[in-house]
């Protein structure tokens, strides 16, 4: 399987060959290149996702979806981007201006940071920490701050209600996400993202980990949906109760940033699901089927990762467009009365499974 570290090492060698006396400049240039790549990938993925959602939603609802702008509607998203970039940004008088303008950037920063940690393929990731998973869980928490600030600084009752709801919701469900991630860390024996992926070389954790892994997967899907403010848990922006929730007062590109982050977060949670349960960029291997395994190995690892992430996204969209919205008290009861205790027990069971060596 192709390893992208060859390319990165070559670029590094080339740059050091040019300016051997200035290693700091080499590092700076590399950082800028990586940053640029990251931002470009970020916006491209977000745009693809917005269209993906619109087509999937149309398909589920027996509609056609965008098909007029450009061939098959593919240019629709560019029209939207141009539109939203030139839209007026309304400066409200009764808001806390600094916080009001800071909030969308906080939300985007959180999603860029989590996005940066995803392993895109073999050797194709920004940095390989030994605490990678821990870092993801930590930085995704910044998003809550952005949402809370947006609601608070807008000085609008609807926004405030939306922000309060989302604060309660995201903080609660972070626990469940954490527990299901911990369950897998326990199974893999490492927090490093590469380590987790490589541990799945001979079988994905979803199949390897027995019942606890399956349970953790289900809990993860529910909790990730909730943390993402999507699906049946879109209370913070519940359109039919709070008009647009915490971003009611935002216009133009500020609103665009929220919109962008929402879809990127969807990619991030799908990516993490793929990483933890579906083997990340590892190809599908069935023990014993040598020919099949070799064919699978020829598919580039990046495609494997993206394919899995897109599949997970489809599941999230399917859930979103099928279920009605839950109520705030039901939402919290679901987390604190069911998901969290089950997650805790599940973690213990997983620890027992691992120590006894019952997993495959």
């Amino acid at each position: 399987m192709f390893d992208l570290t060859i390319v990165t090492n070559w670029v590094h060698g080339l740059l050091t060959g040019w300016m051997p006396s200035m290693p700091w400049l080499v590092t700076t240039i590399e950082c800028v290149l990586v940053g640029l790549f990251l931002l470009v990938a970020y916006s491209v993925i977000a745009m693809i996702y917005i269209m993906y959602e619109r087509w999937v939603c149309a398909w589920i609802q027996c509609r056609l979806g965008p098909n007029r702008v450009g061939p098959k509607g593919t240019l629709q998203i560019f029209a939207d981007v141009i539109k939203i970039l030139q839209k007026e940004i309304i400066r409200l008088w009764s808001t806390d201006k600094f916080l009001f303008f800071l909030a969308p950037f906080l939300v985007v920063t959180a999603s860029v940071l989590t996005f940066a940690c995803l392993p895109w393929g073999k050797g194709f990731q920004i940095i390989d920490f030994n605490i990678g998973v821990f870092f993801i869980v930590a930085v995704s928490g910044i998003g809550v701050l952005g949402v809370l600030l947006a609601g608070w600084s807008s000085n609008s009752k609807y926004s405030l209600l939306g922000a309060m709801r989302s604060g309660a919701q995201m903080i609660s469900y972070e626990l469940s996400v954490g527990f299901s991630v911990l369950t897998i860390v326990c199974l893999a024996g490492t927090m490093s993202i590469t380590g987790i992926v490589e541990a799945q070389a001979d079988g994905w954790f979803l199949f390897k980990g027995h019942l606890p892994a399956l349970l953790a997967f289900i809990i993860y899907i529910i909790a990730a949906n909730a943390e993402n403010n999507r699906g049946p848990f879109d209370l913070p922006e519940a359109e039919h109760e709070l008009t647009a929730g915490y971003h009611t007062e935002y216009s133009g590109i500020h609103y665009g940033l929220f919109y962008l982050a929402e879809y990127l977060n969807l990619f991030v949670v799908s990516g993490i699901a793929a990483l933890l349960f579906l083997g990340g960029w590892m190809p599908l291997h069935v023990p014993g089927w040598e020919g099949f395994n070799t064919v699978m190995d020829y598919i580039p690892s990046t495609l494997w990762f993206l394919g899995k992430a897109f599949f997970m996204t489809f599941v999230f969209m399917w859930i979103r467009w099928s279920f009605p919205r839950v109520r705030i008290d039901q939402l919290l009861a679901l987390e604190w009365r069911y998901l969290m205790p089950i997650g805790l027990v599940n973690l213990v069971v997983m620890a027992v499974v691992v120590t006894q060596g019952w997993h495959f």
Binding site: C57, I60, Q61, C62, R63, K157, Y158, L161, P232, D234, L235, A238, E239, H240, E241, T243, W321, S322, F323, P324, R325, V326, R327, I328, D329, Q330
Partner: protein, 548 residues
Amino acid sequence: MDELKDKILALCPQAVADTSGELLLVTVPDAAWHALAVALKEQLGFDYLTALVGMDWKTSLGCYYYLTNSATQEMLHVRVETADRKQPVLHSVADVWSVANFQEREVYDFYGIAFIGHPDMRRFFLRNDWVGHPLRKDYDTSDELNPLRLTDEQNEDDTQRWVEDEKGRVTVVKDKVFADDEYVINVGPQHPSTHGVMRYRVSLDGEVVKKVDVVSGYIHRGIEKLCENLTYMQTLLYTERMDYMSAMQNRHCLCLCLEKALGIEVPRRAELIRLMMDELMRLSSHLLSYGCLTMDQGATTAFFYGFRDRELIYDIFDKTCGARMSMSYHTIGGVVADVHPDFVADVRHACDVIEKNLAEYHQLFTGNVIARNRMVGVGLLSREQALDYAITGPSGRASGVSCDVRKKHPYSLYSEFEFDEVTRTEGDSMARYMVRMDEMVQSIKILRQACDKLEAEEGNEYCAKVPKVIKLPEGHWYQQVEASRGAFGVYVEADQESKPFQKPYRMHFQSPCFNLVGVVDLTCRDNLVADLITITASIDFVIPDIDR
């Protein structure tokens, strides 16, 4: 009728009873009215205030109260008036029938009659700073008095009460709707889930609703006043623009009322076509309310499925009437034109498709655990409350009130058809939703029978002979039909003055949604904000029908 008359005269010797009209008319002086009202409700069982019609008889102002005994379906109406045109006051019956609360506010708005003992005497439809009372015959319509104001309304919290002490002196007491320290959130008039331009001012404690103040009138177009300047044929137009989801039934109601006044016999085939159109409209309306209810709870896909099937019904309307909405199809004496040749086949097809899809709807939404959690036991309305607030239609039947006008006061050809009146006893949002879903099955049943009957019908007569100039005899009539959302009533009063074309002296539309909105505060209290949306969606009112 005579028996009832004797009973009432025994209860209230000052009353004058008149049995010459279609219903027993009791005229009572204002001072004796409240006592009689209590007696009528408690001793004679008249527990359902069907309609309250404000009137201006030029020399005096007053009201007609149409009352129904919900057990025997006996009806009568009471006339109460006051000769004082400067500061007219009557006694309120809001404590006897709670539905009178909003009805009396409407009368106060239109005629300026203040009701003694009413808890919250504010205008209902017009702005707080409106000058005059538009339905009075001497109302000045000039634009200088009430120009188009682009400033916001002020003093929304102020209300007033008329209080009478033991000596009979009437004083006005100022009140506040909300206390100063309440967290009041404004839902509407432009809000995605108010289904139009309704506005609630909701006092919250955290996310729990403490009180809902309904502010209506954002689409009040003054239809009743407009009707007074049109001929009878022209007034038909407005019935479709009140509850546009029961356009056919509403128009049918006014046609029936005028036919009753004129003594016109409608051909059987025409009546059959009308009935089928009514039921198609009901199907369409219930599909819409399914869609809106699901969308308000976030299940967007279900909404699209509901709309997919409505298109079938729209096609039928389109073919026969030439329009998808506001069909203008019923007319005095029958219908405007004969049905399209494909009509029966199309109806059968639509029935089959919708019947099949109903199972899919139940699968998608009804059995869903989230939907059940959100609707079961939410927004309870007991049978007594429903009667007290005169809640009819699917919402009333969900509380166990048997109030289907098609069964209770059969009109058109409904007595010939086999169908069940769907009632439930739970009285929660789920029951209201389920009643609608089950009524669709009944409508399909009626339509299938009607298709057979229409095919068997000979001839192609679709309208009776109706005089070119419609001239009603002097008098007043009241007719009700079962619209999609409850009992829709029309009150018509004719005099002989306006010439050469006769115009109605007074036309009042008793819309079911007007009563439905009265229970919003009652059902939403102590529920969450999210429940407010569920409850209002399950009660399912159409705002232009409330505001008229």
